[in-house]
Every structure is written in structure tokens, then in C-alpha cells.
Amino acid sequence: MVTEEEIERVSKLMKIDVDDHKEYVDKVHTMIDYFDILDSAGVESEEISMQEIPISNLREDKYIPFDEKLIKKLNNYKGTYVRAPKMS
């Protein structure tokens, strides 16, 4: 059951301002309801696996500076620091 409060809580968590929570409730609710189908998959005992590589494949520890002055190409660059909004 997905409520308007849930949508509000999650959108705060994901840091997105949603004007009308109600508008999203219906569609999101439908989508999440659809996911209930996973309950009948019978996969409780499955192990979660992933790609593996040996330690020898990892990057060598070398200092290689990036060949450009990267900071100049980004936003909010006014001299040195990146400017971010104030913290509460």
C-alpha cells in the first residue's frame, strides 16, 4: 500500500521537490503494486552473485594528473572553491 505520506517521505529522501504528491501517488502506486508479482517467484533461497576479477587485474598505484584544468570547466567556479548552498 503506497500512501501520499510515503511518496512525500521518499521524495524528500531522494531530494526532489514534488508539487503535487497526489499526482505521483497513483502512477507510483500502480507500478509498485505490479512489483508484488515478485512474491510468487519462489526465489528465497537464491544466492546473489556478481562478476569477479583477480586482484592482479586492478589499476596500478600511480599518480597521473588529469591533463586539463578541470575545475574551470564546471559550474559555480569563481576562483578556487566550488560554491554550494549554505548548510542549515
Partner: protein, 481 residues
Amino acid sequence: MNLKISALEFVQEVKNGNISAEDFVAKTLERIQSVDDKLHAFLHVNEKAVDQAHEIDKKVKSGDRVGACFGMPISIKDNICIKDSKTTCASKMLENFVAPYDATVITKLKEQDAVFVGKVNLDEFAMGLTTEFSAFGPSKNPWNTEYVPGGSSGGSAVSVSAFECIASLGSDTGGSVRNPASFCSTVGYKPTYGLISRYGLISYANSIEQIGPLTRTVKDTAFMLNIISGLDSNDNTTVDNKNEDYLSEIDSGVEGKKIGIITEMIEEGTDPAVLSATKDAISKLENLGATCEEISLDMVKYSVAAYYTITATEAGSNLARYDNIRYGYDFPVEGYEFNSYIAKARRNFGPEVTRRMIIGGFVPSTGHAGKYFLKALKVKSKLTRDINEAFKKFDLLIAPTVPILPFKMGEKIDDPIALFLVDINTVTANLTGKPAISVPFTISNGLPIGIQLLADSMQDKSLLQAAHALEQTVSLPEVPI
């Protein structure tokens, strides 16, 4: 000048001196000018393309070493970074983002003297099936402009299909290369996970997505794969394909191959025209010496739910970096508090992306992760085990790429589940990391139908051989634009 040639034909013509890259690229840009108003495949066109082709022509004339592409015009999905080029992911959030580096695939193509004619349209951040979720307007299907071209790599498929370029690079997370390829009657390929480097591909669901070429012929795809595949130190998930040559022996055919027909992908809900095309493809393959037999992969029933759960989670995390502080669009930080600034800035995401992120915050959260996200991961594991079993018995698997015909703009945009289910035949290859290809097979009432083949991990070469064999059995009408 005939723009309707394949990549290999183009290379041959330039090598023979019959055409120059510059002329061809200039004609291509004219073509774009004349048709793209109606189709809207392109988000930005590279004005310097003709000059770049000119430079390559100089090399050809002087007998210098020329890269394998010989100046062929290629379009790039706008979620792949080209240095000093706007890369927007069809989103207002990245409206002004200029990539400061090249994606690995771009570096490789540049080395081979490809010319990028422009960046093409997609669903915002690659989340969608029709390109209708692009923040800059949808693309149209060249076979019938009232219909969707598929997505998310809609612009790629349209540009190749409408002869606005020779080939395109798209990205495939749940069918985003194969689906529009099928809807626009081009070849669309998703390689084994890790075969092509994702460095420079703006992440949506990084554990399952791959860059994939869209081309006119299967041989062209093999040609592209030779250039862009391979181990990359910039991407820890790439695998070593030992410089495999995908073009050699592509004519090997399917004699003696065992092909499994995935029953869950031809069930009720499949359009009769699609079903009949699939049956036709199967009998053509049998005529070429393959044996086809049905096989059930029952996890396919849960694959769409698992796919959207996993991708929403990863997207929620991959898109968290878009807080507009380091890059994005013009919105100064002065006067704002951190949390409210970010929330406001991120309102520039479109509604579909917003929906996916809300889901992506919900399904892995404490209290819900066990029911949704973890279960989805387990479905993924079991599906992978099951398909590995299947490949012990079969060399290839076959199914229609999309269970339905292309549909009209706006038809499914308000029905999220109906839209999800368009993916039901394609997400399996992503969830399991297996290579899959959509081969244009027939046109039904003016609308294209593609047939999909899958192979086991790292069997991309034999997959392309089978796809080529199938492709050779049909001769398709020309796109009416």
C-alpha cells in the same frame, strides 16, 4: 549520391575513389536538414562534420594511414560523452553540460577516423521505450511519423533508418537498442555485458547496461564491434575478448545449430502479425539447417518487475549526483539552503525520471528492500542460472524483439504497466548479461517487425553469424521517407 549504402559499402566506395568522405558527409547533412524537421532524431548537429571529413579525404589522397571508418558519418546517442560537446541526456538538468572528456567508444571511433554528425535524441536519461519522455520533444518513426520509433535510443534508430547517418551508437539497458531497431527496421545489438566499455556512457543502470551499435546490416554491426569492443582500463567491468574479429567467418551460417524458442515470449499478448513473423523466421532458420525447439524460461514472467525494481534503485543512485552544484543548468546557489536548493534544482527532471527515482528510493529502503529489491536480485540470479542451463542444450535462443507492433504517439504514455510490458522480451538479455540482437525481418501494414536472437556470454561472434544468416533470408522494402 546514394546515401542508402551500408558502412562496408561506404568504406569500399571511398577506398575505390568513387566517392569522397566530404561529399558523402555534406550530402548527409543536407539529408538531415531536409527530413529531420519531421523526424526530430537530432538534438545537435555537428557543423564541423564536413571539415572533419575533408581532413580524412586528404589522408586518403596522400596515401597516409586512414582509420577503418574512412570518414563515415555516425550519430551518437546524447548520453555518451564527446569532449567539448554538449551532452544532455535529453534532460533539462544537463541542458548546459559540456563533457570535458571523450567516452572510450568515442576515442576508439575517432582513432578510426569516424565523423560524428551529431547527437541524437533519447528518452530522458535513457528511461523509456518511445523517446516520448525526452525533454526536448519526441522522435518520430520514419515508417509512419504518427508512430513511436521505440526507445530509449529512438534518435539512433531513426537516424540510421532515415539515412541521416550510416550507423549510430545507442545504449541498451532493457532493450533500448533492440526495441527501436525493431520498430524502425534496423539492426540493433546489445553485446555481452562488459564487452564494450561504459566509460563515458552516462549511467542509468550500470550493472546491466551496455553501449550497442545500430546499423543497416549485421555485417556493419560486426564492423563496429571490431572497433569499439575490448578491455578498457577505465572500466573495471570490461572483459577481455582477446581482440576477436567479429567480421571474419560471418557467413558461417546456422547449419547444425540448435535454437531454443522461448515460450514465455510468444504467449498471449503477442500480436498475431508478430507471432506469424516469428514462425516464419523459425522456418527460414530450419531451412538453413538449424533445429528449433521450444524452451521455457519461467523466470521471464518476473523479469519485468525485477528489471524495473533493480534499474529504479540504480537510477536513483546514479542520478543523485545531479544536484546542479558542479554542473547542470543556470541556477545560482546564493541565498538557498542546501536541501531546499537541491530539491528545487532537481525539479528539472521530467515526470518519468521523477517517478523512477521515487520508486528507486522506495524499493531498496529499509523495510521494503527485502520484499522488492532483494527479491528482484534473486530473480536475476535464478534467471541467469536458468538461461545458463538453456545454453547447455541450445546454441541460440529466439523470440520476437517486441511482442507488439509499433504504436501511435501518446497511446501508451499514461499506462505505465502496459509500457513496462513492451520490454518483456528484451530485459532478459540485460538481466543475464547475454548478448542479443534484433534483426529487421518484415514490414506488416507499413510497420516494422524485428526478430531477436540471443547467445551465451562471450558468444557474440556466433550470434552475429546466425543473425547474418537470418538477415539474408529476407529482402525488405525501403523506408518511405
